[in-house]
């Protein structure tokens, strides 16, 4: 524990940038995946195209993705934006399918009823389809969050600082305690993300809990 | 013959599904177990092929205690049909049907031939054999399920609500196919259903179970409808049982009246009756027509097709129904080849019913009700 006690400040700073590097792409990815998923739903021909495209992006190994970002973006090799953009791409790749399938899980009868009541276009999307798809989308987001927290730690290999630095530094300087601290910090952060998403989902879908209580 | 002797099933959580069941399913007959949910009918069925092991009593198959038989062999000797068919989605229809023969070590060619034959038997077109279950309708899947159970020609069939997941019209078709098959094959069948109408239609004997696996009454369907032993059975067999029981009373000689007819395409001019029966060239009834409302040749579109047609050799129920449903109030009666033999009026059928005895009391002894304590 001595190492940890001496380095609380460092751990906190690294954790803060880890939150940014893993969290910002989650938000950006969700914002981009929502319209894409909606499009995939709306035009069924687009669905297989978007799904295979995101499957291909998801195939690219993380270190390779980080390393190739400057080539694509024209950024500096050490820029944290390389990590943010790469993580956003992974998030989108994971979420497009989830959003499309989530919107597809809304019962047809509900959609018909909404149409019959005069809900149109955007209002129907935000008022009916999206709220009902929240449980599915949130499940996908939780997978993405846990995955993002883990992948971001790899960025320490390309020199972008976050909790992964505890791992590389611990290995380089042979401080097992530092590695263990890094692992625990990452797991805790993943749990926090998971908990936040779960909490927001509960707030957004009060009817799900009502069903649970009744049955 | 399958015999339940004081069979009991208590599950590990303490619930007793079947308390003490004693009954016999005679060889070559259909025994239907019927009752509300929780009456232990499915549990009882599944104890026969030891999908569930009884916790007390014995079940014997032709005198042999099933608990001493090899489990797999016991099951391979019994056809098994379940509610959702349970077809293997990864195998073609033909391969599904051939499952048990292959397990028994038949060669491929023999199995395929047998499977093809069975598909035809259950009324499926041969080209369906190469499809996968997901490409079939629910009714077709159930037919395949029945064919698969029959594949190795087992002497016993266990059927657990096989027709209850399909819509009523298809269910009726399936029941008819099933009765035809049974008339040919004469299997020893135990059939579980929650539907009393199905039980009455299919059963040679019907066992009504009450919650907890108590046998309330076992008898042939006609006797069951006429003489329910207690309120529970009376309630369960339902409201129209008087009318339904007519189904089991063979028609005595019906007082048939000759019916003036007109052949389709001929003219009705000059006919005075308000309703005239239209037949085809071989005197098969097609429908009724009102001469007052048509002139010239009778065409298909003018036919009133509302009435049912009963066979002279059929039941009093079908004769009465023919009279009640006919627009002329005269029920159309045909012979076994479908040719018109005459008409009958409802009051005539009713007086026949009144003159006939109710199902005889003696028959109760044939399937003595074995009441559980």
């Amino acid at each position: 524990m001595t190492w940890v006690n001496d380095h609380w400040g460092d751990i906190f700073t690294l954790a803060r940038s880890h939150v940014w590097l893993a969290g910002l792409p989650l938000v950006l990815g969700l914002l981009i995946a929502l319209p894409l998923g909606w499009l995939a739903r709306r035009w069924s021909r687009l669905y297989p195209v978007l799904i295979s495209a995101s499957g291909l992006l998801y195939t690219i190994p993380s270190l390779a993705m980080f390393v190739l970002m400057p080539l694509v973006l024209g950024t500096k090799v050490l820029s944290p934006w390389n990590v943010v953009v790469a993580m956003t791409i992974y998030t989108i790749a994971l979420l497009v399918r989830t959003v499309a399938d989530g919107l597809g899980s809304v019962p047809e009868a509900t959609l018909q009823a909404a149409r019959a009541m005069g809900y149109k276009g955007f209002r129907r999307f935000f008022g009916v389809e999206l709220p009902l798809a929240v449980p599915v989308i949130a499940a996908g987001l939780r997978v993405a969050a846990v995955s993002n927290v883990s992948i971001v730690s790899v960025a320490s290999l390309i020199g972008v600082a976050q909790l992964g630095n505890l791992l590389t530094d611990g290995y380089d300087r042979y401080i097992p305690e530092e590695i263990v601290a890094g692992i625990i910090a990452c797991v805790v952060l993943a749990l926090v993300f998971d908990g936040i998403i779960l909490g927001v989902q509960r707030l957004l879908t009060p009817w799900v809990r009502a069903q649970g209580a009744r049955s | 013959m399958i015999r339940f002797d004081s069979v009991r099933k208590q599950f590990p959580d303490g619930t007793v599904a079947v308390h003490d069941l004693t009954l016999t399913a005679p060889t070559g007959k259909i025994t239907v177990l019927v009752g509300p949910s929780g009456c232990g009918k499915t549990t009882s069925l599944r104890m026969v092929n030891r999908m569930i092991e009884p916790s007390g009593g014995t079940i014997t198959l032709d005198g042999k205690d099933t608990s001493r038989m090899n489990e797999a062999e016991l099951r391979r000797g019994m056809g098994y049909v379940i509610q959702h068919a349970g077809l293997f989605p990864h195998r073609t229809v033909l391969d599904n049907v051939g499952t048990v023969p292959r397990l028994l070590g038949w060669d491929k060619k023999e199995t395929r031939e047998r499977s093809r034959e069975l598909l035809a038997r259950v009324g499926l077109a041969p080209e369906l054999g190469d499809r996968y279950p997901s490409q079939l309708s629910g009714g077709q899947q159930q037919r395949v399920g029945v064919a698969r159970a029959l594949a190795a020609d087992p002497p016993v069939m266990l059927m657990d609500e096989p027709f209850s997941a399909v819509d009523p019209v298809v269910r009726d078709q399936l029941q008819d196919v099933f009765l035809d098959l049974q008339a040919e094959l004469g299997k020893t069948i135990i059939f579980v259903t929650h539907d009393i109408d199905e039980a009455i239609k299919l059963g040679d004997q019907v066992a009504v179970l009450r919650v907890g696996g108590y046998l309330a009454q076992i008898s042939d369907p006609a006797y069951l409808l006429a003489h329910p032993v207690d309120d529970f059975v009376a309630d369960f067999v339902g409201r129209d049982r008087g009318y339904r029981s007519l189904q089991f009373q063979p028609t005595p000689r019906l007082p048939l009246a000759a019916e003036p007819t007109v052949v389709l395409g001929e003219s009705t001019d000059g006919l005075a009756a308000p309703w005239v029966l239209v037949v085809d060239d071989s005197r098969r009834p097609l429908g009724w027509v009102e001469p007052a409302k048509v002139s010239g040749q009778v065409t298909e579109s003018q036919l009133h097709r509302g009435g049912t047609v009963a066979r002279a050799s059929g039941s009093l129920r079908s004769a009465l129904d023919a009279a009640l449903s006919s627009p002329s109030r005269r029920g159309v009666i045909v012979d076994d080849s479908g040719e018109l033999v005459g008409t009958v009026r409802a009051h005539e059928v009713l007086s026949l019913i009144e003159a006939t005895d109710r199902p005889d009391e003696d028959r109760a002894d044939a399937f003595a009700a074995e009441e559980s304590p």
Partner: protein, 279 residues
């Protein structure tokens, strides 16, 4: 920059020799296949057992929660702990392979388990009722029906292994990761990016090949391909008129009523949809 990367990728000097690109690709594939094979030997029987018996489901939950552990941390911890205990070159190889195996057990295990779990209970019940032994149920019903999800698990296992083997170059493993790790250390962006491109292409190719394998071995009855083809032909599944006309007891035959059509067969698009994490 792009031009020099292309030069690097196309130069024969890059490809040849003991530390050349060709050799590195072979190495990378070798590690991946080795790790997935070892993991599959553990995870496949385990998943089949859990799925078949319904016992010890917590194993799957535990395996899945392992996914929250950062790969990099696991890699370094095992390398530090095991490395010094092993002599020679194996000191680099064994810790990395051990980590790769640990990493891909969860996707394979949960794929197999989810596949077996998803088998229609009615099909399993029918299989037992027809007299299949436990082993026959597993071989003839559960495995073929679980194949789509099993192979999806295997695919994501491969992707994960290829990605992590790259990172494992940091603890001394060979393979394509060498170009990335060494390139970053020496500031040689050309070989770093070149290696990154090659490893990405490798991942895509492996995934594509496995997708083809999946297509070939999974029964068309499960993929919905067969259904779609029929539907395209406009072929409706209709129950024939049946045999009710031959009925012994002519329960009032309705006049002029044609045999009703059975309901149209439902679509059975059971295409896999399992989300998986990767590193």
């Amino acid at each position: 920059m792009i031009a020099s990367i292309i030069d690097w990728l196309t130069s024969s000097a890059t490809w040849s020799g003991e530390g050349g690109l060709g050799a590195r690709i072979v190495e990378h594939l070798w590690y991946s296949v080795l790790a997935v094979a070892v993991a599959a030997m553990i995870a496949v029987p385990l998943g089949l057992w859990v799925g078949h018996t319904g016992r010890a489901k917590w194993l799957v939950s535990v395996a899945n929660s392992l996914r929250a552990v950062p790969t990099l941390g696991l890699l370094f911890a095992v390398a530090l702990w095991l490395g010094p205990k092993i002599q020679g070159d194996l000191a680099f190889l064994i810790p990395s392979i051990v980590v790769l195996v640990i990493l891909v057990i969860p996707p394979i295990l949960s794929g197999v388990y989810a596949g077996v779990e998803a088998v229609d209970p009615a099909a399993r019940d029918a299989a037992r009722g027809m007299g299949m032994t436990g082993g026959e149920v597993v071989r003839q019903v559960e495995i073929p029906n679980a194949l789509p999800l099993m192979l999806s698990g295997l695919r994501s296992a491969f992707l994960q292994v290829i990605a992590t083997a790259t990172v494992a170059a940091y603890v001394g493993l060979g393979g394509l990761g060498r170009y990335l790790i060494d390139g970053i250390k020496t500031g040689d962006y050309v070989s770093t990016a070149g290696g990154a491109i090659v490893v990405s292409v490798l991942a895509l190719v492996v995934d594509g090949v496995l997708a083809l394998v999946q297509r070939a071995v999974v029964s068309p009855g499960l993929t919905g391909r067969a259904t779609r083809r029929r539907r395209a032909e406009g072929d409706r599944a209709v129950d024939g008129p049946g045999t009710n006309s031959r009925n012994p007891d002519a329960r009032s035959v309705a006049t002029g009523m044609s045999a009703p059509a059975d309901e149209v067969a439902p679509s059975a698009d059971q295409t896999r949809s399992s989300t998986s994490t990767r590193q």
